[in-house]
């Protein structure tokens, strides 16, 4: 609600041109850019809202590579693992094509300088059936340095992309704004590759106060890529399969390093190992079992680490400093490390993230989306869970080759001036030169709408407070409330470019929430404990729902369609 109309801020219009625009310079985006530079003379432009040196999920580093074909395993066994872990609703063609590339992309990152542990024979040291040990603290700076050495790659740091430019069904570029100066960008491109990552901050987080951003996923991944696709009418898949991570309490640091690394099992407050009571130890079941134990009053739950040696403890400190320093600080400053105290665990709020579960763009085998000229890879691309870091590299590589093929012989399509100005005006309406001079200009702040959104999702769309369970009545309320917040968001005001970014982040998350809610409504079964658990339909129903739930946003509504499962050796092409 606007009480006054203050003077709008001026924005300069700047038009850029490139062959391939990559939106998001994280794991998949940087690798895709390198692939293009090494295999063609195409000009690449990476638009990144932070700085590629430490942006995206790998900011703090990563402790292991969790998708690798170790000795004795094959791409087929990797596919089997993913299929079994996710009740079969995956795009086998996508998972398999990634699995076949995992080891080659790993070798390439090692050549860039990543330290990977080797045994006396020179083989990588495995941490399990699919994992290898590394020192990944500097993995992102290594990637960024490689990107910056390529003459054909231009990096536009601190530019926030907000929407695609679409002409007659084809994506011909994107709009964005600088976070440093009052510049509105129109970037014209022959092909666009979206690698923005997934969405955090949709649900009320574990630590909603001062430490609200101490979360599993990057809080700066706010679903922009999903939202831009949704608004442009791209088909999306499996948004009902949310990802919930089992983490160390409070610091939300990883548990896999302890569970796999030192073989610690999950125990409840009575000291009983409980995981096996709940069926196969799939990713959803590890989470579900912990929720159930707490519901039965047997919490808190722990990873049983007490009694590990001091040497092991010291190694764990180092491993955590290399990826989640908060947990190491917590152990050391309290003087109660994992050798003397079991590590308490909890589930996070749900995220939408295609590198772990299967939410994202509905893509063909070549990673083309349903919008011509637009490709997707990494966490923003759907259908293939358990990608992790190396899977995002592999998918970035596949998408890069497809984009290179697509641009061959193509010309740039000029964006019409009037269209640019209309978009610039849309951005400008959020900017006020000085809200302190005119504090009554709007009733609500971005922060208030964000909190309201997170509360709605928590209570009515299966967040932590509802033990991740949804039902139709609650989802109906969620849909209505999120729609209301989306309407209210148009009156938000920003006093500077940082606040303008925050407005777009909350807007994007509201669009993603709408899609999540519609997908949760559509899957009338329970396919994955916690990730998608519907109290109205508590059983798995293969007869009706061994399918993908897909959607397109049309005329203000999320329209659902169901698609049949794509198998390993199929080449999937988009049809109408």
């Amino acid at each position: 609600m606007s009480f006054n109309t203050a003077m709008n801020v001026h924005l300069d219009l700047k038009v850029l041109e490139t062959d391939i625009l990559i939106i998001g310079g994280g794991t998949a985006g940087c690798f895709a850019a390198l692939t293009v530079a090494e295999n063609s003379s195409c000009q690449v432009l990476i638009a990144e809202k932070a700085n590629i040196r430490r942006s995206g999920c790998l900011a703090a580093g990563v402790n292991a590579l969790n998708a690798y074909i170790v000795k004795g395993e094959t791409p087929e066994t990797y596919l089997d693992y993913v299929r079994n872990d996710t009740e079969g609703v995956i795009r086998e063609d996508l998972v398999y094509s990634i699995a076949k590339r995992l080891n080659d992309v790993t070798a390439k990152v090692e050549a860039l300088g990543l330290v990977i542990q080797k045994d006396a024979n020179g083989d990588y040291v495995a941490r399990g059936r699919r994992n290898i040990k590394i020192n990944g603290e500097n993995i992102k700076p290594l990637l960024a340095a490689a990107v910056e050495q390529k003459e054909t790659i231009q990096v536009l740091n601190r530019v926030n992309i907000i929407d695609y430019v679409v002409k007659e069904g084809r994506v011909i570029g994107a709009y964005g704004f600088s976070l440093d100066s009052k510049i509105f960008y129109t970037i014209q491109a022959k092909a666009v590759l979206c690698t923005t990552g997934g969405a955090a901050g949709l649900y009320r987080p574990n630590n909603p106060g001062f430490s609200r951003h101490k979360m599993w996923y990057s809080p700066f991944n706010t679903g922009a890529g999903y939202a831009m696709g949704i608004r442009a009418g791209a088909e999306m898949t499996t948004f009902e399969m949310r990802f919930i991570a089992l983490r160390c309490k409070d610091t939300i640091a990883p548990t896999g390093t302890i569970a796999q690394g030192v073989g610690a099992q999950q125990i409840n407050g009575r000291g009983e190992a409980y995981e096996r009571k709940y069926g196969l130890p799939t990713t959803p079941n590890r989470m579900f079992s912990t929720v159930q134990e707490n519901k039965e009053g047997k919490g808190p739950c722990y990873l049983e680490t007490k009694g590990i040696s001091k040497e092991t403890e010291e190694d764990l400190y180092k491993a955590y400093l290399n990826m989640a320093p908060a947990q190491a600080l917590r152990w050391i400053e309290s003087g109660r490390g994992p050798s003397v105290e079991n590590v308490e665990i909890e589930g996070t709020e749900p995220y939408i993230v295609g590198g772990h579960t299967a939410s994202g763009y509905w893509i063909d085998t070549n990673r083309a989306t349903t919008l011509e000229g637009l490709f997707a890879a990494g966490d923003v691309a759907g259908g293939s869970p358990q990608k992790f870091v190396t899977g995002c590299f592999a998918e970035g590589e596949i998408a890069a080759f497809s984009a290179m093929e697509y641009v061959r012989g193509k010309e740039l399509v000029a964006v019409e001036h009037a269209q640019m100005i209309a978009k610039l005006e849309e951005v400008r309406q959020f900017l006020q030169d000085d809200t302190t001079l005119n504090p009554d200009i709007t009733l609500y702040s971005v922060e208030e709408l964000e909190e309201a959104m997170q509360k709605v999702m928590d209570v009515y769309a299966g967040g932590i407070s509802s033990d991740y369970v949804v039902n139709s009545s609650k989802l109906t309320i969620a849909k209505q409330r999120i729609k209301g917040l989306l309407d209210m968001s148009t009156s938000l005001k920003a006093k500077d470019l940082h606040e303008l970014k925050l407005i777009y982040e909350v807007l994007d998350r509201l669009y993603v929430c709408q899609t999540v809610i519609a997908h949760l409504q559509a899957r009338k079964e329970t396919r994955w404990h916690c990730f998608q658990e519907n109290a109205d339909y508590p059983e798995r129903d293969d007869l009706h729902y061994f399918k993908y739930v897909n959607s397109c946003y049309r005329n203000g509504d999320v329209e659902i369609n169901f698609r049949d499962i794509v198998k390993k050796d199929e080449t999937y092409e988009h049809q109408n």
């Binding site: 932070a50 900011a59 610091t251 400093l321 908060a326 400053e333």
Partner: protein, 104 residues
């Protein structure tokens, strides 16, 4: 989760604000870095690792078990020294060589 930037130690080189994945570090009128929205920090420590002067301290919010201690980093070529300073002043230093892979 957050950081504090010492205004006495900061030399205003701007490396930390460039690298913050959330764009949370800004410059004040004196040209020095400050955190604009401390509650928006993810806790990734990217800024600490850029800072050559040790001006940035990383600490846990009281809501996630912080007890008044903090950590900072110093880089010595391929070695990264992590110093945890407990509330009672005791310091614990852990050095990680970038060339060594994690054991776990």
């Amino acid at each position: 989760m957050s950081i504090k930037i010492s205004q006495q130690i900061c030399i205003g080189c701007g490396k930390c604000l460039k690298v913050c994945p959330g764009g949370l570090i800004h410059r004040n009128e004196a040209g020095k870095s400050y955190v604009r929205d401390p509650q928006d920090c993810w806790g990734c420590t990217s800024c600490l690792k850029e800072c050559a002067t040790g001006a940035i301290k990383y600490y846990l919010g009281a809501d996630i078990g912080g007890l008044g201690g903090y950590l900072y980093t110093e880089r010595d070529r391929e070695r990264l020294h992590w110093t945890i300073c407990k509330a009672d002043g005791e310091k614990v230093r852990i050095t990680i060589n970038q060339k060594d892979a994690n054991r776990y």
